[in-house]
């Protein structure tokens, strides 16, 4: 069957791999990931432990930004998604709008419980 035969050649036809990852590029992405992780450790061990900045919303925002950047490099280059067609990228990515909504919902809910309903006992830290 002609159409079946075509299906088998999908992916080898022009387009899919011509922009693939060369060895040099793979190592470059690796060093980006390594540098981002090192930066996270620098913030955690040197800045936060050294008392330069305090743990809190600002530091967490930086951590999350760095995490998302790492996620981008892994998905786009290691998982090769950047080189797929726009339609395919959208069909995978769009559903994550729901996750963003879920985060907003759950954290709002958690924050509400914190201020309105917190019957759990807790003790002041002696140190």
């Amino acid at each position: 069957m002609a159409s079946q035969h075509q299906d088998h050649t999908v992916g080898h036809a022009d387009g899919q791999h011509h922009e693939g990852m060369t060895k040099g590029k793979i190592w470059r992405i690796f060093f980006y990931l390594l540098a981002l992780t090192a930066l996270e450790f620098f913030i955690a061990l040197v800045l936060v432990h050294g008392g330069v900045v305090e743990k809190g919303l600002a530091v967490n925002a930086v951590y999350i930004a760095l995490t998302l950047l790492k996620a981008y490099y892994i998905i786009a280059y290691f998982m090769h998604l950047k080189f797929e067609t726009f339609g395919f990228i959208m069909s995978v990515a769009i559903s994550f709008v729901l996750i963003i909504y879920f985060i907003a919902l759950m954290l709002t809910e958690g924050g509400y419980l914190n201020t309105h309903y917190n019957p759990f006992p807790h003790w002041a830290n002696p140190q």
Binding site: H49, I64, W123, N125
Partner: protein, 242 residues
């Protein structure tokens, strides 16, 4: 009769007008992507629940105080170092996986075998580190549904080493449950990934892909392996850094 073609009768050549595969991705690979998207939803739900719990409690255990040991080297005093090593191992094994995929594109069987073996070793090392981490916390008294406790001693005292701010039994318990559930679910994924990698290695050695003329299977399993690495990036941030 006019020879001009009306707008409606023109042959359309767009991506979606038939005759070619619009995504230009092989079926199995699309399905792997959709499976990973659904799996990402599961992990997201876990991590979002963790975040919601943290938001809901007045106080929470301090990861810097919980994770201070380097197995066989030091029991105390080195926050984040061991998890740093684990993160490095997993990123490294992700790189060897892409290198295996890259070798597959060139149909270089020997290189695929070499990089797949490196990836499997990386995965096993990670799982080993995870086991040490679990053992350490378990010895300290943490487990599903249990936190460090002593007969006749107030939780205020037994839990003090793990908190920087106020001390709470419920927070510690929630932390223990979620830590073991989420890292356990991730570790389960790593184990499955190692198994898949071993199967792919055996198929490569048996010349299955050589005969098939394509190493696409390496790519599909590679996607799964990178996903496992991706999840760890998030687990690392939310359990160890934030």
């Amino acid at each position: 009769m006019s020879t001009t073609v009306t707008e409606l009768d023109k042959v359309k050549t767009g991506r979606w007008h038939g005759g070619k595969s619009p995504f230009n991705v092989e079926y199995g690979k699309i399905m792997m992507w959709f499976f990973l998207a659904s799996d990402a939803f599961t992990f997201s739900a876990f991590l979002i629940y963790y975040g919601a719990q943290r938001f809901a409690h007045m106080t929470w255990p301090d990861p810097d105080k919980l994770f201070q040991s380097i197995p066989f080297v030091a029991d105390y005093g080195y926050p984040l170092v061991f998890v740093g090593i684990m993160t490095f191992i997993l990123i490294m094994s992700s790189v060897t996986m892409v290198l295996a995929v890259e070798a597959g594109h060139r149909n270089a069987k020997k290189e695929v075998v070499g990089w797949m073996i490196a990836t499997i070793i990386g995965g096993l090392m990670f799982i080993g580190c995870q086991a040490l981490e679990w053992t350490h916390l378990h010895h300290a008294g943490f487990w599903w549904g249990s936190i460090p406790s002593q007969e006749g001693v107030s939780p205020e005292v037994t839990l003090a080493p793990y908190f920087s701010k106020d001390i709470s039994e419920v927070s510690a318990l929630q932390f223990a449950n979620l830590f073991f559930t989420i890292t356990g679910f991730h570790g389960f994924h790593v184990s499955v990934g190692i198994l898949l990698n071993i199967i792919i290695l055996c198929m490569t050695l048996a010349n299955t892909f050589e005969r098939r003329g394509s190493y696409l299977m390496v790519e599909k399993v590679g996607l799964y392996w990178h996903f496992v690495d991706l999840v760890w990036v998030f687990v690392f941030t939310f359990f160890y850094l934030v």
